[in-house]
């Protein structure tokens, strides 16, 4: 299997194969806690099916505040790329999930050995992070509030 959902499908075939060689197919039932805010960010997932909720603990608020959901074709986890290598948010499966799991140490070793792969992979992750940053900015505008699209 060398097919990958976007954005990793843009990697050249040989690099896709190298990356997939360190990936593990995993599945989780609904309600599985994948990681907690502040935990060691030592892996990431490419979601193939199902849905995962990203959340954050707010004192006095139960359950955790839900920030965003991710689904099929999306990457889960980028905190493994940069210090302090701790998860910024928590994650829980909303539905049964099937994914490919990539250990960060293996992927970083691949990137060190093959800078071309490392460069391509980092560009893909920057696209993901930039997209989520822009989406967050849009949500900050609260556009659907009564006067969110401008004064009456």
């Amino acid at each position: 299997m060398t097919e990958l959902p976007p954005p990793l499908d843009l990697l050249p075939l040989v690099q896709r194969e190298r990356l997939l060689a360190v990936g593990l197919d995993v599945s989780f039932p609904a309600g599985t806690r994948l990681f907690d805010e502040g935990g060691e960010a030592d892996r990431f997932w490419l979601l193939r099916s199902g849905e995962v909720a990203l959340d954050i603990c707010v004192p006095g608020r139960q359950p955790e505040a839900l920030i965003e959901t991710l689904g099929a074709g999306q990457l889960l986890g980028w905190s493994w790329i940069c210090p302090p290598y701790r998860w910024h948010l928590g994650a829980r499966t909303v539905t049964p999930v099937e994914a490919t799991e990539f250990p960060a140490t293996d992927v970083l070793a691949l990137c060190a050995a093959d800078p071309e792969l490392g460069y391509a992979l980092m560009r893909r992750f920057i696209e993901v992070v930039a997209g989520r940053l822009q989406a967050t900015r849009i949500r900050l505008l609260d556009l659907y509030a009564p006067h969110g699209s401008g004064p009456p």
Partner: protein
């Protein structure tokens, strides 16, 4: 240039509460009838003694055979319209403006993307496509709202799920919400967009439409394949007064539905 005509009296046949601040009104002629509307066109609705506002048609034929308009109470006129009861009378002018170009989408996939009450002008498109399933390819309906309680046409959306690829996402989930959370463009990842055979029809706040159009073009869709419904300060609806001017366009007459290729640069001009 269109002729200014006086409003015709229309009677409120039925009202339907959509959300806490949004209601749909079915209007039937109390005498002479206006010409037929097309999906995407709008009427100027006059709340007697209060004022007149442009409202897109949200269904061409309601249960009583009348025109349906969905109104969110945000100002004096829209609040007066929102508060109408069956039997009340309003003044109606129209139909005005351009409609969604569904002819361009015949034989192709149709992707409807709505933000908030932007689903209202797009509902007739969904009806039209579902009425002629053989004429079109896949139908995608992606909706973003503020909270689960702000989703309009909830029963319709549930019905559409069996006949179209439907996604609903919210900015602020409440207790019990099990669906996606995030901006509407995140739903695009689950829709296998075929950029060479898809037409996208987008309606919502202008920032949402720009963001969505960029996301679509980032997935390879040409700007000519993206239609947006603009909102400006429309007063006369006939291209006379100029209140709704957007560069070379008078939105009341040349819009509200326009190809994104025509307005992409105009929407980036701060003064317009």
């Amino acid at each position: 240039m269109s002729t200014v005509t006086p409003p015709l009296p229309y009677r409120v046949a039925e009202t339907r509460t959509e959300t806490a601040d949004t209601r749909s009104l079915e209007l039937v002629p109390a005498g002479r009838e206006l010409p037929p509307f097309a999906p995407g066109q709008y009427a100027m609705i006059y709340a007697f003694g209060v004022g007149e506002v442009p409202i897109s048609v949200s269904a061409l034929h309601g249960p009583y055979g009348g025109l349906v308009h969905t109104v969110r109470a945000v100002g004096a006129v829209s609040t007066a319209l929102h508060d109408l009861r069956p039997g009340d009378t309003v003044g109606l002018r129209g139909p005005f403006g351009t409609g969604w170009d569904l002819d361009a989408a015949v034989g192709q996939d149709v992707l409807v993307i709505a933000g908030g009450i932007g689903l209202a002008p797009l509902r007739p498109v969904v009806h039209a496509v579902l009425d002629r399933p053989d004429a079109y390819g896949r139908l995608g309906i992606l909706v973003g709202t503020r909270t689960p309680g702000d989703l309009i046409y909830q029963e319709d959306v549930e019905r559409w799920r069996g006949r179209a690829e439907v996604g609903v996402t919210v900015d602020r989930p409440g207790p019990g919400w099990q669906g996606p959370v995030g901006v509407v463009t995140t739903l695009l990842d689950a829709f296998a967009l075929r950029s060479d055979r898809t037409h996208a029809l987008v309606c919502g706040p202008e920032v949402m439409m720009r963001h969505t159009a960029r996301a679509l073009m980032g997935r390879g869709l040409a700007a000519q394949r993206v239609q947006v419904s603009l909102e400006r300060n429309m007063r006369c609806a006939t291209g006379h007064c100029g209140h709704c001017q957007l560069g070379p366009l008078l939105v009341c007459r040349d819009g509200p539905v326009v190809g994104y290729d025509r307005v992409e640069r105009l929407l980036a001009v701060r003064e317009l």
